[in-house]
């Protein structure tokens, strides 16, 4: 990552630049197919893209939480001597 500080102050325009938006959208499109529906390259709604991104991050975090819960319960309920237990134990705890 470059060392450049924003000594050129980000211009007084409060919006993220179009280039950055397009870049972000392109990359997100590979991850979130829903965004790709409105193909207006010049007028991509920055607000919408940011919202989708935030929603996506939140849902991923929620999923990590749920999966942690599930894994925890899995370890609780798994029968001590079963092959699953051995596998999981060798992988996890």
């Amino acid at each position: 990552m470059s060392n450049r500080r924003s000594s050129r102050q980000s211009s007084s325009a409060p919006r993220i630049s179009d280039d950055q938006m397009i870049d972000l959208v392109t990359k997100l499109r590979q991850i979130l197919p829903e965004i790709g529906q409105r193909r207006r390259s010049d007028k991509v709604s920055a607000s919408k893209v940011l919202q989708e991104t935030c929603n996506y991050i939140r849902s991923l975090n929620r999923e990590v939480d749920n999966l942690s819960e599930r894994l925890s319960q899995l370890l609780e309920s798994v029968d001590e001597d079963s092959p699953e237990a051995a596998v999981i134990r060798s992988l996890l705890m």
Partner: protein
């Protein structure tokens, strides 16, 4: 092997390490909640440690996780190792107190900053976006791996090789 697969592999390696280390440092037996927190914590540390670069989010995540492991010296060791590796890349960040949230883009940018670890420290929007994309890739890898492991119980004995 695709970059994404490499990310997942790296995450798996780190996760196995962090799980074992945390496991050694806690008192058994754990209740379900304690175990869940340990799994999640080790997973987050692993995700950040897998990112061998000078990203803001990974350092912020490690530092955030450090607060949760105050009582676990072994966990602190992992974090220290990870911190030292990242410390050498100099990248200073400054707190920017000037952002005021307005509606639309500005407000949602603020929201994004609150979701990406360390985001509130990033002043440059271009940089924020790059951090976000990087963070999402690793977050996704974390979810994919955990999902696969959680599915073990339904594929008895059939653990596929690409998750070893």
């Amino acid at each position: 092997m695709s970059t994404y697969n490499m990310v997942k592999q790296e995450f798996i390696k780190k996760w196995i390490t962090t799980l074992h280390m945390l496991d050694c440092s806690v008192e058994h037996p754990l209740n379900v909640t304690e175990r869940k927190n340990a799994i999640k914590l080790s997973s987050d540390i692993a995700m950040a440690a897998a990112r061998s670069g000078s990203t803001v989010w990974s350092r912020a995540l490690i530092s955030r996780s450090g607060n949760k492991t105050a009582n676990k010296p072994v966990a602190r060791r992992i974090l220290k190792k990870a911190r030292n590796r990242l410390k050498n890349r100099c990248l200073t960040l400054r707190r920017n107190g000037n952002f005021t949230a307005k509606s639309g883009v500005r407000k949602r940018t603020e929201l994004l900053k609150s979701l990406v670890p360390g985001g509130e420290l990033i002043k440059n929007k271009d940089y924020l976006i790059r951090e976000t994309l990087d963070y999402i890739v690793y977050l996704r890898a974390q979810v994919d791996v955990m999902r696969t492991v959680a599915a073990v119980d339904s594929v008895t004995g059939n653990l596929t090789n690409d998750n070893k």
